[in-house]
């Protein structure tokens, strides 16, 4: 089945329970048929696929994760828009929640450090961090430059990291993260570990030489690396067609001989299933996988310009978008396929929860996030002198600003 990837894919929901497709899909699963690039013939939400084996508890936890990300983003956007004392900022992940959630649900996110799977994030990191299991209150404190934040106020949004859950961290640069992630995968393989490294990178990373170096070396060395390309159509304010000649970025990965798949990034089960196959392959010594998730962000590139407090998404003017404006209709069309709504519908359709319980869970998550902000924003500010610490493992460097 052909999918026009320039418009939001729409087939998964209405074909969820098609009996004829189920027969085909069972056959495909039994034969281990590879998913071809950009032309997925499988409705991955079908039950015979990996997510169908998940416990109800795990499915509910994935739904909670999606909601935690969503309400973290909405709460933070509202803080930026309404609280003059709030100094934090974010490159908001709202709209892309199913990607981080579906991938990280397959990973080892707790336990001894030498067994954790590592996630490398982009400069749109809050969703990846939450899905990997960071402590949300301490992330909230970090994003508002608090001394007791996850990284002591040194990081802020673009550099958050929590090695205790295998969250290697955000990166403010476009380019280096995938190459570095491949180095972790290289180390896992060299020491005989079954850990895997995952890198989330946007469509903007395609043009950087690092993209190509990563895939070439991952394939040459059979590294346990999963490259998750979150194609939300825009790098900053430029459409990805300005920097990539391929409709599917995954077709570039295929050129390096790496199994590559495009998935509906709005559907957590579809993402989960693709990531499950990738993680199984990597742990089993089968080498790298490239997953391109077609997705969309509800806010502008950075911060909350164009957004209104209490409302989801940014429809207004963004003064930073000098030459390129994404069409409002495009945003509205993508919001019709909201990852929260899709996850909720799957859980209800599968009888995991009913609508009332699903709504209750959302209220529980909203309360949890509200508490996280209350705690985070009441934390102490940093001591200026501490800026001289953590340059090297020991000691401080001298102050030089006084002459």
């Amino acid at each position: 089945m052909e999918r026009d990837v320039t418009t939001p894919p729409r087939e998964t929901e209405d074909q969820l329970a098609s009996p004829s497709r189920r027969g085909f899909l069972q056959l495909a699963a039994a034969t281990g048929a590879a998913v071809s690039v950009g032309r997925s013939a499988r409705a991955l939400t079908e039950l015979p696929y990996p997510a169908g084996d998940l416990s109800d508890e795990k499915l509910v936890e994935m739904y909670r994760t999606i909601l935690r990300i969503r309400w973290h983003e909405r709460t933070q956007a509202d803080q930026m828009l309404t609280n003059p004392d709030y100094r934090g900022y974010n490159h908001f992940y709202a709209g892309q929640e199913a990607v981080a959630t579906g991938v990280c649900a397959n990973l080892r996110n707790s336990g001894p450090r030498d067994q954790l799977d590592l996630v490398y994030s982009s400069h749109r990191p809050s969703g990846h961090a939450i899905a990997k299991g960071v402590d949300i209150p301490s992330m909230v404190a970090e994003m508002d430059f608090r001394a007791t934040g996850m990284n002591g106020g040194y990081a802020a949004e673009m550099h958050i990291a929590d090695p205790d859950v295998g969250f290697a961290g955000a990166d403010g640069m476009i380019g280096p993260a995938p190459v570095v992630a491949s180095g972790s995968a290289f180390a896992f393989r060299a020491r005989g570990s079954d850990q895997v490294a995952v890198v989330f990178a946007g469509d903007g990373n395609y043009a950087a030489p690092h993209f190509h170096s990563t895939l070439n070396n991952a394939k040459l060395l059979d590294l346990p690396l999963i490259y998750v390309c979150e194609n939300n159509l825009y790098h900053q304010y430029a459409h990805y067609s300005l920097s990539c000649p391929h409709e599917d970025i995954a077709s570039a990965a295929a050129a390096y001989g790496i199994p590559a798949v495009t998935v509906d990034g709005q559907n957590v089960v579809e993402v989960y299933n693709a990531a499950r196959e990738a993680v199984d392959r990597a742990r089993g010594g089968g080498g790298p996988t490239f997953i391109e998730a077609k997705t969309y962000r509800y806010y502008n590139h950075w911060g909350a310009p164009g957004a209104k407090a209490g409302e989801l998404g940014a429809f207004g003017y963004d003064p930073l978008a000098i030459t390129h404006f994404r069409p409002e209709k495009e945003l509205r069309a993508w919001m019709q396929r909201d990852p929260v709504d899709i996850a909720r519908k799957i859980l209800v359709d599968w009888g995991v929860v009913d609508s009332a319980r699903a709504a209750e869970i959302e209220e529980e998550v909203k309360a949890e996030i509200a508490e996280a902000f209350e705690w985070g924003l009441s934390q102490p500010l940093c001591n200026p002198e501490d800026g001289l610490k953590h340059v090297f493992a020991e000691g401080t460097v001298p102050a030089r600003q006084f002459g």
Partner: protein, 322 residues
């Protein structure tokens, strides 16, 4: 003549040179070459010169920096605008390819290109990779590349004309924190030399040397010191390589006191070179060096603003010298 912003002044120079030379090209990523100014026509290089000459690439500073070198070797003047997110990604091709081309070919190759490299370090909270102000030290160390750092819209325009017309490759550092400055800038083309410092204030008790984003704070501090009765001479380096030793030495020979101010890291900051040249040439000079500590710029505004040298640090250090 009109009050013009920094970026409008720069793009006015580029527009003029591109109209004069139909082979000249401009490569950018993310930051479109567009500027507006009250009472002046909007400048948009992309629409005026078309997408064959003015190219919006993907996020690939290595290609941008290398492509202008190749364009230069092919006989075309070329410039590229590297935003601060990738300010050192071009380093290898500038340091190890472009800078050595003229010398290694025995003078036969010429690379008449300009890399406009944004520096940040101005906005508290941007943190670490979006807050650094160290590119001056890195790029000024490269022989064969002229590294300049204007600090006013007037100089920005005149040095852009000079950079594009120069037969040498030029790293043109742009401290993004100065983008809000405006001043009277002529409409016509003019050149500001790429190897001359500017004496911004004349005095006889103390020489303060700074550059780029350090200048507004230094001038503010100099006003304070003047109010306290001190006679302060302020030098804006403008050229980091080749540095204008003569202007520095002449001033320090008069004042015998030298304070350098940098937002770059202490070790190998431009001021370190200024001090070395001064004490090599003038006996009995008292010196002090104000700079950002040798630590990456942290996110917290409390830490960052304490570490980044401000006017009050300059005043305190000057008082200690006087």
């Amino acid at each position: 003549m009109a009050q013009k912003s920094w970026m409008y002044s720069v793009l006015e120079a580029v527009q003029h040179e591109m109209r004069e030379d139909p082979a000249m090209t401009w490569i950018f990523e993310l930051t479109p070459p567009v500027a507006s100014n009250p009472g002046k026509p909007v400048i948009n290089l992309e629409t005026e010169f078309g997408r064959k000459r003015v190219v919006n690439t993907g996020i690939d500073e290595n290609w941008m920096a290398s492509a202008v070198v190749g364009a230069g070797l092919a006989g075309s003047k070329a410039a590229t605008y590297i935003p601060y997110q990738g300010a050192c990604m071009p380093f290898e091709v500038i340091q190890n390819v472009a800078s050595k081309l003229r010398h290694k070919t025995g003078g036969r190759a010429s690379v008449p290109v300009v890399w406009i490299i944004e520096m940040t370090g101005q906005t508290p909270g941007f943190a670490q990779q979006h807050s650094c102000y160290e590119e001056d030290s890195y790029y000024m160390h490269i022989p064969g590349v002229r590294t300049v750092i204007p600090s006013t819209p007037y100089d920005a325009k005149g040095m852009m004309h000079a950079a594009i017309r120069s037969p040498d490759p030029v790293v043109y550092l742009y401290p993004a924190g100065l983008r809000t400055l405006t001043e009277e800038v002529p409409d016509e083309a003019y050149e500001v030399p790429l190897d001359k410092a500017a004496v911004r204030m004349e005095g006889s008790d103390l020489t303060i040397v700074s550059s780029g984003a350090g200048m507004p704070g230094v001038l503010e501090a100099a006003e304070t010191l003047t109010g306290e009765g001190a006679s302060v001479e302020v030098i804006d380096l403008r050229a980091l390589n080749q540095m204008d030793t003569e202007t520095i030495v002449n001033s320090v020979a008069k004042t015998k006191r030298l304070l350098t101010v940098d937002q770059s890291y202490y070790t190998l900051c431009p001021g370190a070179e200024v001090i070395a040249r001064a004490v090599e040439n003038v006996d009995g000079v008292k010196v002090k060096r104000v700079a950002f500590p040798d630590a990456p710029p942290p996110a917290s505004p409390e830490m960052f603003l304490w570490m980044r040298p401000g006017p009050e640090n300059v005043v305190e250090a000057a008082r200690a010298l006087l």
